[in-house]
Symmetry: C2
Subunit: 244 residues, 2 copies
C-alpha cells in the first residue's frame, strides 16, 4: 500500500473510531511546519469539503522569535497549493517567560497552544487539530508511568470543560516513521526550529526507552501497546485496600 | 537499613495494604526452593504465631522428575531450622504432557500450581502464598501490554470464584535484587531446576525490556511503574466510540 493510502486509512480510523469530527465542524490545524503537522494538514485539506462528514479546515502557524523564515515561506506555498486557508501569528515566547526562568520546549509549546486556543475562540473554530502521532502517545504513556507513577496518556480527543473547542489528534494511529515517509513522498522540507535550546531531554530519554522496547519485543509491539491503551483490565490491576 | 529489615517492611506493606492475611488464616507456601520462595518462607515463618494478625504457615515443595535432590535436602533443613512444617509431593510434569507437546516452563508451573491448589484444598488451607516479586509483576505488565495488547498484570491477591483459597503474593513490593540479597544474607544456596529445557524465552525477552527501561529512565522508574499500576487514570486513557 502507498504511504499516502496507509496514512489516509489510519486517519480515518481515528476520525471515525474516536468521533473526532462532526458535521459542520470548523477545524483549525496547528501547523508548526514539521513533518507531523504537515502530514496532518495535507490530509485534512484533501478531506475538507468532500468528506462523508462535511467540515471545513484552516491552518495557523504560531511564529516565534526563533522562526525559520524560509521554512515559513515554504509552508505558505504548500498551504496555497492544497487550498488550505493559512494564517500566521507572531508571539515572543521568551518575552512571556517569568523572570529567572530559562526557555524550554515545554514552555514554548504551552504558549503556542494557548495562542491557538485564543485564535480558535476568536474565529469560531470548533476543533483544534494537532499533529501528535502514535509514538507521541506511547512516549507520553511511558513518561507518565516511569516518571509520574501514573497510567495515563495523551488523548486522541480532549474535551475541555471551559472551552467549546475540542483538541483532536487525527494522527493517533500514524507512526512517526509514516509521517517522515509522507513528508518525503510529497517532497516537503520541514520548518526547523532555530531556538538553539535543547531542552526536550525528558522526552528524548523516554523515546530511547520506547525504541529499546520495540527493538527487544519486535516491531509488532508498537501496535500491541497502542491497542493496550484502549484495553485496560481493571480487575487485573492491583489496588490497595480502601483505595480500590 | 539491613536487607532483612527492608524486605520485612515491604512484606508488611503488601500484607496490610492488600489485606493478604486475615485472623485465623492457614497459609500454604509454595516452596520451590529458589531465592524468592525461600525469602518468602523465611519471612512468613518468622511471623506465624507471633504476628499482629494470628495465622499459621506451612510449606509444600512440588518435586518433579527434574528434582535437585541435594537442594531439596537443604530446603528441608532450612524448614526445620525455622520451624516451618514442610511437605514434599512428587509429580511427573512430563507424564502429564499431551502427546506431541514439548516440555516448557509454563506447563511445568501450571502443573505445580494445580498440585498446590489440590493440596491446599485437601488440607484446609485458606491462602496459597507464592514467591512472585515486584519485577515479576512489572514483567507480566510489559508482557501483557507488548504481546497481548492489554493493560493488566499479576495480582498481589487473587480470589478464585471456584475455590475458597486465595492466591497471595506477599513479595509484591520486594525486588528481585532484594530476594537475592536476602538469600545471600541467610546463607542459603538455592535449589536448581535440572530440566535442561530453556523455554522461558518470552519472559527473558521482556526482562531485557524492563532492564532497558530502568537503565534509560533510572532506577527510580521501577517504583514509579509499580505505583502506576495502582494509579490508572481512566479519563486519560483513549477509548473508541461505543466501546468506552
Amino acid at each position: 500500500m502507498s504511504i499516502t493510502r496507509t496514512v489516509s486509512r489510519r486517519i480515518d480510523k481515528a476520525i471515525f473510531g474516536y468521533g473526532l469530527i462532526e458535521p459542520g465542524d470548523r477545524v483549525l490545524i496547528g501547523l508548526s511546519g514539521g513533518k507531523d503537522s504537515v502530514t496532518l494538514a495535507h490530509q485534512l485539506a484533501r478531506r475538507a469539503g468532500s468528506f462523508s462528514i462535511p467540515f471545513s479546515a484552516a491552518a495557523v502557524h504560531i511564529r516565534t522569535e526563533y522562526a525559520d523564515l524560509a521554512g515559513i515561506d515554504r509552508l505558505r506555498a504548500l498551504a496555497d497549493e492544497i487550498n488550505l486557508p493559512f494564517e500566521q501569528i507572531t508571539i515572543s515566547v521568551s518575552g512571556r517567560l517569568k523572570p529567572g526562568r530559562r526557555m524550554n520546549c515545554y514552555w514554548c509549546s504551552t504558549q503556542r497552544r494557548t495562542e491557538l486556543l485564543r485564535y480558535a475562540q476568536a474565529h469560531g473554530f470548533t476543533r483544534i487539530a494537532l499533529g501528535h502521532h502514535m509514538d507521541d502517545i506511547l512516549e507520553t504513556f511511558l513518561m507518565n508511568m516511569t516518571q509520574q507513577g501514573e497510567i495515563s496518556t495523551m488523548l486522541p480527543v480532549l474535551r475541555y470543560d471551559r472551552y467549546p473547542q475540542w483538541i483532536i489528534r487525527p494522527l493517533a494511529w500514524v507512526t512517526e516513521e509514516q509521517t517522515e515517509a509522507y513528508a518525503r513522498e510529497i517532497g516537503y522540507e520541514a520548518v526547523r526550529c532555530r531556538c538553539g535550546f535543547d531542552t526536550t531531554s525528558r522526552r528524548k530519554t523516554v523515546r530511547r526507552a520506547l525504541d529499546a522496547i520495540l527493538e527487544i519485543q519486535g516491531e509488532g509491539a508498537r501496535r500491541q501497546m497502542m491497542r493496550a491503551l484502549h484495553n485496560v483490565q481493571m480487575s487485573y490491576m492491583p489496588s490497595f485496600r480502601g483505595r480500590g
